[in-house]
Protein backbone atom coordinates (compact mmCIF):
# COMPACT_ATOMS: atom_id res chain seq x y z
CA UNK A 1 0.00 0.00 0.00
CA UNK A 2 1.25 3.40 -0.92
CA UNK A 3 2.28 6.05 1.54
CA UNK A 4 -0.33 8.64 2.29
CA UNK A 5 -0.84 10.85 -0.71
CA UNK A 6 -2.14 14.37 -0.37
CA UNK A 7 -5.62 14.72 -1.78
CA UNK A 8 -7.95 17.38 -3.02
CA UNK A 9 -10.80 16.66 -0.61
CA UNK A 10 -11.39 17.54 3.01
CA UNK A 11 -12.15 15.12 5.79
CA UNK A 12 -14.51 16.35 8.51
CA UNK A 13 -15.30 14.03 11.39
CA UNK A 14 -18.09 14.34 13.95
CA UNK A 15 -17.66 12.59 17.26
CA UNK A 16 -19.63 12.49 20.47
CA UNK A 17 -21.66 10.22 22.70
CA UNK A 18 -24.86 8.52 21.55
CA UNK A 19 -27.54 11.17 21.90
CA UNK A 20 -25.21 14.11 21.38
CA UNK A 21 -27.00 15.08 18.16
CA UNK A 22 -24.33 14.19 15.62
CA UNK A 23 -26.65 12.92 12.91
CA UNK A 24 -28.94 15.95 13.12
CA UNK A 25 -26.03 18.35 12.79
CA UNK A 26 -24.35 16.42 9.99
CA UNK A 27 -27.55 16.34 7.96
CA UNK A 28 -27.88 20.09 8.29
CA UNK A 29 -24.24 20.65 7.38
CA UNK A 30 -24.59 18.39 4.39
CA UNK A 31 -27.66 20.25 3.13
CA UNK A 32 -25.98 23.56 3.62
CA UNK A 33 -22.85 22.53 1.75
CA UNK A 34 -24.85 20.96 -1.07
CA UNK A 35 -26.90 24.15 -1.24
CA UNK A 36 -23.68 26.08 -1.71
CA UNK A 37 -22.94 23.84 -4.67
CA UNK A 38 -20.16 21.96 -2.88
CA UNK A 39 -19.26 18.35 -3.62
CA UNK A 40 -20.09 16.72 -0.33
CA UNK A 41 -20.39 13.12 0.82
CA UNK A 42 -21.75 11.68 4.06
CA UNK A 43 -20.18 8.50 5.41
CA UNK A 44 -21.87 6.82 8.36
CA UNK A 45 -20.18 4.56 10.91
CA UNK A 46 -22.28 1.61 9.95
CA UNK A 47 -21.39 -2.03 10.17
CA UNK A 48 -21.53 -3.98 6.96
CA UNK A 49 -23.71 -7.08 6.74
CA UNK A 50 -20.54 -9.12 6.89
CA UNK A 51 -19.58 -7.70 10.26
CA UNK A 52 -23.11 -7.84 11.63
CA UNK A 53 -23.18 -11.53 10.83
CA UNK A 54 -19.82 -12.13 12.49
CA UNK A 55 -20.96 -10.14 15.53
CA UNK A 56 -24.11 -12.25 15.81
CA UNK A 57 -22.14 -15.47 15.57
CA UNK A 58 -19.46 -14.32 17.97
CA UNK A 59 -21.98 -13.19 20.51
CA UNK A 60 -23.97 -16.39 20.39
CA UNK A 61 -20.90 -18.52 20.93
CA UNK A 62 -19.20 -16.13 23.36
CA UNK A 63 -16.17 -16.00 21.12
CA UNK A 64 -15.26 -12.34 21.34
CA UNK A 65 -12.28 -10.93 23.11
CA UNK A 66 -11.38 -7.23 23.18
CA UNK A 67 -8.76 -7.88 20.52
CA UNK A 68 -10.97 -9.72 18.04
CA UNK A 69 -13.80 -7.27 18.65
CA UNK A 70 -11.44 -4.43 17.85
CA UNK A 71 -9.97 -6.15 14.78
CA UNK A 72 -13.36 -6.98 13.34
CA UNK A 73 -14.38 -3.31 13.47
CA UNK A 74 -11.03 -2.28 12.05
CA UNK A 75 -11.57 -4.71 9.16
CA UNK A 76 -14.94 -3.20 8.43
CA UNK A 77 -13.61 0.32 8.67
CA UNK A 78 -10.65 -0.44 6.39
CA UNK A 79 -13.04 -1.74 3.76
CA UNK A 80 -15.22 1.37 3.97
CA UNK A 81 -12.19 3.64 4.11
CA UNK A 82 -10.46 2.22 1.07
CA UNK A 83 -13.56 1.71 -1.04
CA UNK A 84 -15.41 4.86 -0.13
CA UNK A 85 -13.84 7.52 2.05
CA UNK A 86 -10.40 7.63 0.46
CA UNK A 87 -11.61 7.64 -3.18
CA UNK A 88 -14.02 10.46 -2.27
CA UNK A 89 -11.18 12.44 -0.74
CA UNK A 90 -8.90 11.80 -3.67
CA UNK A 91 -11.72 12.82 -5.98
CA UNK A 92 -12.04 16.17 -4.25
CA UNK A 93 -15.12 15.81 -2.06
CA UNK A 94 -15.79 17.18 1.37
CA UNK A 95 -16.37 13.96 3.29
CA UNK A 96 -18.46 14.22 6.45
CA UNK A 97 -17.90 11.25 8.74
CA UNK A 98 -20.54 10.43 11.32
CA UNK A 99 -18.07 8.90 13.76
CA UNK A 100 -14.52 8.08 12.79
CA UNK A 101 -11.54 6.20 14.19
CA UNK A 102 -11.87 8.03 17.53
CA UNK A 103 -15.04 6.06 18.17
CA UNK A 104 -12.98 2.88 17.97
CA UNK A 105 -10.23 4.36 20.13
CA UNK A 106 -12.87 5.08 22.76
CA UNK A 107 -14.78 1.80 22.58
CA UNK A 108 -11.74 -0.45 22.29
CA UNK A 109 -9.90 1.59 24.88
CA UNK A 110 -12.73 0.92 27.33
CA UNK A 111 -12.29 -2.78 26.56
CA UNK A 112 -8.65 -2.60 27.60
CA UNK A 113 -6.87 -2.49 24.25
CA UNK A 114 -3.53 -0.73 24.37
CA UNK A 115 -3.96 2.85 23.10
CA UNK A 116 -0.63 2.79 21.25
CA UNK A 117 -1.58 -0.44 19.50
CA UNK A 118 -4.95 1.02 18.47
CA UNK A 119 -3.38 4.15 17.06
CA UNK A 120 -0.97 2.08 15.00
CA UNK A 121 -3.78 -0.24 13.90
CA UNK A 122 -5.70 2.70 12.46
CA UNK A 123 -2.53 4.40 11.29
CA UNK A 124 -3.56 3.97 7.65
CA UNK A 125 -6.46 6.39 8.12
CA UNK A 126 -5.95 10.10 7.67
CA UNK A 127 -6.42 12.38 10.61
CA UNK A 128 -9.38 14.65 9.73
CA UNK A 129 -8.92 18.26 8.72
CA UNK A 130 -11.46 19.08 11.41
CA UNK A 131 -12.87 16.84 14.11
CA UNK A 132 -15.94 18.29 15.76
CA UNK A 133 -16.67 16.91 19.18
CA UNK A 134 -20.28 17.46 20.19
CA UNK A 135 -19.84 17.92 23.88
CA UNK A 136 -22.76 16.92 26.05
CA UNK A 137 -22.57 16.06 29.75
CA UNK A 138 -22.96 12.34 30.33
CA UNK A 139 -26.24 12.57 32.22
CA UNK A 140 -27.85 14.59 29.45
CA UNK A 141 -26.71 12.15 26.77
CA UNK A 142 -28.04 9.21 28.77
CA UNK A 143 -31.27 11.05 29.38
CA UNK A 144 -31.82 11.65 25.67
CA UNK A 145 -31.12 8.04 24.75
CA UNK A 146 -33.38 6.64 27.46
CA UNK A 147 -36.14 9.12 26.68
CA UNK A 148 -36.01 8.17 23.01
CA UNK A 149 -36.66 4.60 24.17
CA UNK A 150 -33.98 3.33 21.88
CA UNK A 151 -33.59 -0.41 21.75
CA UNK A 152 -30.16 -0.99 23.28
CA UNK A 153 -27.96 -3.38 21.39
CA UNK A 154 -25.79 -5.90 23.28
CA UNK A 155 -22.42 -4.53 22.21
CA UNK A 156 -23.51 -0.89 22.15
CA UNK A 157 -24.52 -1.34 25.76
CA UNK A 158 -21.11 -2.84 26.52
CA UNK A 159 -22.74 -6.03 27.79
CA UNK A 160 -19.69 -7.99 26.61
CA UNK A 161 -17.54 -6.23 29.21
CA UNK A 162 -19.64 -7.55 32.04
CA UNK A 163 -20.19 -4.28 33.91
CA UNK A 164 -23.73 -5.23 34.84
CA UNK A 165 -26.30 -7.88 33.96
CA UNK A 166 -28.90 -5.16 33.56
CA UNK A 167 -28.65 -3.74 30.06
CA UNK A 168 -29.64 -0.20 31.05
CA UNK A 169 -27.18 -0.11 33.90
CA UNK A 170 -24.47 -1.62 31.70
CA UNK A 171 -25.14 1.04 29.08
CA UNK A 172 -24.92 3.78 31.69
CA UNK A 173 -21.59 2.56 33.05
CA UNK A 174 -20.22 1.88 29.59
CA UNK A 175 -21.11 5.34 28.28
CA UNK A 176 -19.42 6.82 31.32
CA UNK A 177 -16.20 5.11 30.36
CA UNK A 178 -16.55 6.05 26.71
CA UNK A 179 -17.05 9.63 27.85
CA UNK A 180 -13.77 9.54 29.80
CA UNK A 181 -11.99 8.22 26.72
CA UNK A 182 -13.35 11.08 24.63
CA UNK A 183 -12.25 13.62 27.22
CA UNK A 184 -8.71 12.33 27.07
CA UNK A 185 -8.67 12.62 23.28
CA UNK A 186 -9.77 16.25 23.01
CA UNK A 187 -6.22 17.55 23.26
CA UNK A 188 -4.48 14.58 21.73
CA UNK A 189 -6.36 14.96 18.46
CA UNK A 190 -7.16 18.64 18.65
CA UNK A 191 -10.95 18.24 18.63
CA UNK A 192 -13.01 21.33 17.95
CA UNK A 193 -15.46 21.25 20.82
CA UNK A 194 -19.05 22.22 20.13
CA UNK A 195 -21.28 22.86 23.13
CA UNK A 196 -24.07 20.39 22.47
CA UNK A 197 -26.24 21.73 25.29
CA UNK A 198 -27.07 24.73 23.12
CA UNK A 199 -30.02 24.55 20.78
CA UNK A 200 -29.73 22.88 17.40
CA UNK A 201 -29.73 26.08 15.42
CA UNK A 202 -26.99 27.71 17.50
CA UNK A 203 -24.78 24.67 17.18
CA UNK A 204 -25.34 24.61 13.44
CA UNK A 205 -24.37 28.27 13.14
CA UNK A 206 -21.18 27.56 14.98
CA UNK A 207 -20.37 24.55 12.80
CA UNK A 208 -20.98 26.51 9.61
CA UNK A 209 -18.85 29.37 10.81
CA UNK A 210 -15.99 27.02 11.61
CA UNK A 211 -16.25 25.33 8.23
CA UNK A 212 -16.48 28.58 6.31
CA UNK A 213 -13.42 30.03 8.02
CA UNK A 214 -11.23 26.95 8.00
CA UNK A 215 -12.02 25.55 4.57
CA UNK A 216 -12.03 27.28 1.23
CA UNK A 217 -15.50 26.20 0.21
CA UNK A 218 -15.23 27.82 -3.21
CA UNK A 219 -12.72 25.11 -4.12
CA UNK A 220 -15.45 22.48 -3.82
CA UNK A 221 -18.06 24.04 -6.09
CA UNK A 222 -19.20 22.41 -9.31
CA UNK A 223 -17.36 25.03 -11.33
CA UNK A 224 -14.15 24.48 -9.45
CA UNK A 225 -14.20 20.83 -10.49
CA UNK A 226 -12.92 21.47 -13.98
Amino acid sequence: MSAKKPFAGKLIAFEGLDGSGKSTQINLVQRWLAGQGCRVFHSAWESSEMVKEALRRGRKQQLFTPTTFSLLYATDFADRYEHQILPMLRGGFIVLCDRYIFTSFARDGVRGCDPAWLRELYGFAHIPDITFYLDLPLHMALDRVFRARQQLNYFEAGMDIGLSQDIQESYRLYQGRVFDQYMSMINEFDFTVIDATRNIHEQQEQLREQLATRIDLTAFGEKAAS
Binding site: S2, E53, L63, T65, T67, T68, T75, D79, C113
Partner: protein, 237 residues
Amino acid sequence: MSPNRCFQSPPPDLDLSRLTGLLIVIEGPDSSGRSTHVGLLTKWLEQKGYSVVQTGLRRSMLVGPELDQAKKGNTLSPRTMSLFYATDFYDQMENVLVPALHSGAVALADRYIFTLMARDLVRGTEPAWIESLYSRALVADAVFYLKVPLPTLVMRTLHAHGRLDYWESGMDLGLSRDWFDSFLQYQRRLNDEFMKLHGKFNFDIINANRSVQTIQKDLRGRVERLLASFNSDAQPG
Protein backbone atom coordinates in the same frame (compact mmCIF):
# COMPACT_ATOMS: atom_id res chain seq x y z
CA MET B 1 10.83 -23.38 28.19
CA SER B 2 7.30 -22.30 27.65
CA PRO B 3 5.83 -19.47 25.66
CA ASN B 4 4.76 -17.21 28.44
CA ARG B 5 5.13 -13.96 26.69
CA CYS B 6 4.07 -12.04 23.62
CA PHE B 7 6.24 -9.92 21.40
CA GLN B 8 4.80 -6.92 23.20
CA SER B 9 2.37 -6.57 26.06
CA PRO B 10 -0.28 -9.29 25.74
CA PRO B 11 -3.86 -8.69 24.61
CA PRO B 12 -6.28 -7.53 27.32
CA ASP B 13 -8.19 -10.09 29.39
CA LEU B 14 -5.81 -12.88 28.50
CA ASP B 15 -4.22 -14.78 31.36
CA LEU B 16 -0.75 -15.80 30.29
CA SER B 17 0.50 -16.98 33.62
CA ARG B 18 1.26 -20.67 33.85
CA LEU B 19 1.34 -21.51 30.18
CA THR B 20 2.89 -24.91 30.62
CA GLY B 21 2.63 -26.17 27.04
CA LEU B 22 4.95 -25.89 24.10
CA LEU B 23 4.32 -23.90 20.94
CA ILE B 24 5.94 -25.22 17.79
CA VAL B 25 5.37 -23.42 14.51
CA ILE B 26 5.84 -24.97 11.07
CA GLU B 27 6.14 -22.36 8.33
CA GLY B 28 6.78 -22.67 4.64
CA PRO B 29 5.09 -22.13 1.31
CA ASP B 30 2.23 -24.27 0.05
CA SER B 31 3.45 -27.66 -1.17
CA SER B 32 6.49 -27.44 1.08
CA GLY B 33 5.11 -30.41 3.01
CA ARG B 34 3.96 -28.51 6.09
CA SER B 35 0.72 -30.37 6.68
CA THR B 36 2.35 -33.75 6.09
CA HIS B 37 4.96 -33.02 8.73
CA VAL B 38 2.46 -31.57 11.18
CA GLY B 39 0.48 -34.80 10.79
CA LEU B 40 3.52 -37.01 11.28
CA LEU B 41 4.75 -35.03 14.27
CA THR B 42 1.30 -35.22 15.84
CA LYS B 43 1.20 -39.01 15.56
CA TRP B 44 4.71 -39.36 16.89
CA LEU B 45 4.12 -37.02 19.84
CA GLU B 46 0.89 -38.74 20.77
CA GLN B 47 2.71 -42.08 20.66
CA LYS B 48 5.13 -40.58 23.14
CA GLY B 49 2.22 -39.59 25.36
CA TYR B 50 1.96 -35.87 24.67
CA SER B 51 -1.33 -34.18 24.11
CA VAL B 52 -1.23 -32.33 20.79
CA VAL B 53 -3.39 -29.47 19.58
CA GLN B 54 -3.15 -28.31 15.98
CA THR B 55 -3.85 -24.78 14.91
CA GLY B 56 -3.70 -23.14 11.54
CA LEU B 57 -4.97 -20.25 9.52
CA ARG B 58 -8.53 -19.61 8.47
CA ARG B 59 -9.95 -21.95 11.05
CA SER B 60 -11.78 -19.55 13.32
CA MET B 61 -15.52 -19.80 13.82
CA LEU B 62 -15.66 -16.06 14.15
CA VAL B 63 -14.78 -14.92 10.66
CA GLY B 64 -14.15 -18.21 8.84
CA PRO B 65 -17.20 -17.96 6.56
CA GLU B 66 -16.44 -14.33 5.73
CA LEU B 67 -12.86 -15.17 4.85
CA ASP B 68 -13.94 -17.98 2.56
CA GLN B 69 -16.33 -15.59 0.91
CA ALA B 70 -13.65 -12.95 0.53
CA LYS B 71 -11.23 -15.43 -0.97
CA LYS B 72 -13.73 -16.34 -3.64
CA GLY B 73 -14.88 -12.83 -4.37
CA ASN B 74 -11.58 -10.97 -4.39
CA THR B 75 -13.32 -7.66 -3.77
CA LEU B 76 -11.53 -6.73 -0.58
CA SER B 77 -8.49 -4.50 -0.49
CA PRO B 78 -5.20 -5.94 0.75
CA ARG B 79 -5.58 -3.98 3.99
CA THR B 80 -9.03 -5.38 4.63
CA MET B 81 -7.76 -8.88 3.92
CA SER B 82 -4.87 -8.35 6.36
CA LEU B 83 -7.22 -7.31 9.09
CA PHE B 84 -9.58 -10.17 8.43
CA TYR B 85 -6.72 -12.63 8.71
CA ALA B 86 -5.51 -10.89 11.87
CA THR B 87 -8.97 -11.25 13.41
CA ASP B 88 -8.92 -14.93 12.49
CA PHE B 89 -5.43 -15.33 13.92
CA TYR B 90 -6.12 -13.72 17.29
CA ASP B 91 -9.38 -15.61 17.58
CA GLN B 92 -7.48 -18.88 17.16
CA MET B 93 -4.75 -17.72 19.48
CA GLU B 94 -7.05 -16.63 22.28
CA ASN B 95 -9.68 -19.34 21.98
CA VAL B 96 -7.59 -22.36 20.98
CA LEU B 97 -3.88 -21.83 21.41
CA VAL B 98 -3.80 -20.23 24.85
CA PRO B 99 -6.20 -22.76 26.43
CA ALA B 100 -4.13 -25.58 24.88
CA LEU B 101 -0.93 -24.16 26.33
CA HIS B 102 -2.63 -23.68 29.68
CA SER B 103 -3.50 -27.34 29.73
CA GLY B 104 0.12 -28.27 29.03
CA ALA B 105 -0.37 -29.52 25.49
CA VAL B 106 2.06 -29.32 22.62
CA ALA B 107 0.57 -26.91 20.12
CA LEU B 108 1.57 -27.45 16.50
CA ALA B 109 0.81 -24.42 14.39
CA ASP B 110 0.52 -25.15 10.69
CA ARG B 111 1.60 -21.63 9.67
CA TYR B 112 1.65 -18.66 11.98
CA ILE B 113 1.98 -14.88 11.88
CA PHE B 114 5.01 -15.08 9.57
CA THR B 115 3.00 -16.36 6.62
CA LEU B 116 0.48 -13.59 7.20
CA MET B 117 3.21 -10.99 7.48
CA ALA B 118 5.09 -12.20 4.41
CA ARG B 119 1.95 -12.17 2.27
CA ASP B 120 1.14 -8.62 3.33
CA LEU B 121 4.68 -7.39 2.91
CA VAL B 122 4.74 -8.70 -0.65
CA ARG B 123 1.60 -6.66 -1.23
CA GLY B 124 3.30 -3.51 0.00
CA THR B 125 1.97 -3.20 3.53
CA GLU B 126 4.13 -0.97 5.73
CA PRO B 127 6.41 -3.24 7.81
CA ALA B 128 5.85 -1.19 10.97
CA TRP B 129 2.10 -1.49 10.64
CA ILE B 130 2.09 -5.23 10.14
CA GLU B 131 4.56 -5.79 12.96
CA SER B 132 2.45 -3.79 15.33
CA LEU B 133 -0.64 -5.68 14.22
CA TYR B 134 0.93 -8.99 15.28
CA SER B 135 2.88 -7.63 18.23
CA ARG B 136 0.43 -9.24 20.67
CA ALA B 137 1.06 -12.73 19.33
CA LEU B 138 2.67 -15.41 21.46
CA VAL B 139 6.37 -15.98 20.92
CA ALA B 140 6.82 -19.58 19.79
CA ASP B 141 9.30 -22.00 21.34
CA ALA B 142 10.50 -22.86 17.86
CA VAL B 143 9.72 -21.86 14.29
CA PHE B 144 10.67 -24.40 11.64
CA TYR B 145 10.72 -22.98 8.15
CA LEU B 146 10.51 -25.58 5.41
CA LYS B 147 12.61 -24.23 2.59
CA VAL B 148 12.16 -25.62 -0.90
CA PRO B 149 13.93 -24.45 -4.06
CA LEU B 150 11.54 -22.74 -6.44
CA PRO B 151 11.74 -25.33 -9.27
CA THR B 152 10.89 -28.11 -6.80
CA LEU B 153 8.03 -26.04 -5.42
CA VAL B 154 6.49 -25.54 -8.86
CA MET B 155 6.79 -29.22 -9.63
CA ARG B 156 5.25 -30.30 -6.36
CA THR B 157 2.40 -27.80 -6.67
CA LEU B 158 1.52 -28.93 -10.17
CA HIS B 159 1.88 -32.53 -9.17
CA ALA B 160 -0.36 -32.17 -6.12
CA HIS B 161 -3.12 -29.99 -7.54
CA GLY B 162 -2.82 -30.29 -11.28
CA ARG B 163 -3.24 -26.53 -11.47
CA LEU B 164 -2.07 -23.30 -9.95
CA ASP B 165 -4.10 -21.51 -7.29
CA TYR B 166 -5.10 -17.87 -7.88
CA TRP B 167 -3.82 -16.62 -4.50
CA GLU B 168 -0.74 -18.81 -4.32
CA SER B 169 0.19 -17.46 -7.73
CA GLY B 170 -0.26 -13.92 -6.47
CA MET B 171 -2.58 -13.16 -9.37
CA ASP B 172 -4.15 -10.31 -7.38
CA LEU B 173 -0.81 -8.48 -7.64
CA GLY B 174 -0.92 -8.23 -11.41
CA LEU B 175 2.71 -9.31 -11.78
CA SER B 176 1.96 -11.11 -15.02
CA ARG B 177 -1.04 -12.33 -16.96
CA ASP B 178 0.69 -15.66 -17.29
CA TRP B 179 -0.13 -17.75 -14.22
CA PHE B 180 3.04 -19.79 -14.33
CA ASP B 181 5.18 -16.70 -14.62
CA SER B 182 3.19 -14.95 -11.88
CA PHE B 183 3.56 -17.97 -9.60
CA LEU B 184 7.34 -17.91 -9.97
CA GLN B 185 7.62 -14.19 -9.35
CA TYR B 186 5.24 -14.26 -6.42
CA GLN B 187 6.84 -17.21 -4.69
CA ARG B 188 10.27 -15.66 -5.16
CA ARG B 189 9.07 -12.47 -3.49
CA LEU B 190 7.41 -14.40 -0.68
CA ASN B 191 10.64 -16.26 -0.07
CA ASP B 192 12.54 -12.96 0.03
CA GLU B 193 10.15 -11.64 2.66
CA PHE B 194 10.42 -14.83 4.68
CA MET B 195 14.19 -14.54 4.65
CA LYS B 196 13.96 -10.94 5.87
CA LEU B 197 11.67 -12.11 8.65
CA HIS B 198 14.15 -14.85 9.42
CA GLY B 199 16.76 -12.16 9.95
CA LYS B 200 14.47 -10.59 12.52
CA PHE B 201 12.81 -13.56 14.20
CA ASN B 202 15.48 -16.20 13.69
CA PHE B 203 13.70 -19.28 12.35
CA ASP B 204 15.17 -22.78 12.14
CA ILE B 205 15.58 -23.21 8.41
CA ILE B 206 14.86 -26.79 7.40
CA ASN B 207 16.07 -28.03 4.05
CA ALA B 208 12.82 -29.46 2.70
CA ASN B 209 14.33 -30.56 -0.57
CA ARG B 210 14.83 -34.03 0.87
CA SER B 211 12.66 -37.08 1.34
CA VAL B 212 9.74 -36.90 3.77
CA GLN B 213 11.45 -39.40 6.08
CA THR B 214 14.69 -37.47 6.20
CA ILE B 215 12.95 -34.19 6.93
CA GLN B 216 10.73 -35.77 9.56
CA LYS B 217 13.78 -37.29 11.27
CA ASP B 218 15.43 -33.91 11.28
CA LEU B 219 12.31 -32.29 12.78
CA ARG B 220 11.91 -34.97 15.43
CA GLY B 221 15.51 -34.49 16.51
CA ARG B 222 14.86 -30.80 17.01
CA VAL B 223 11.56 -31.37 18.79
CA GLU B 224 13.25 -33.94 21.06
CA ARG B 225 15.67 -31.27 22.21
CA LEU B 226 12.79 -28.88 22.89
CA LEU B 227 10.95 -31.55 24.84
CA ALA B 228 14.01 -32.26 26.95
CA SER B 229 14.16 -28.70 28.23
CA PHE B 230 10.35 -28.56 28.36
CA ASN B 231 10.23 -31.61 30.64
CA SER B 232 12.97 -30.33 32.91
CA ASP B 233 11.09 -27.02 33.22
CA ALA B 234 7.87 -28.80 34.01
CA GLN B 235 9.31 -30.52 37.09
CA PRO B 236 7.53 -29.34 40.23
CA GLY B 237 9.53 -27.15 42.50
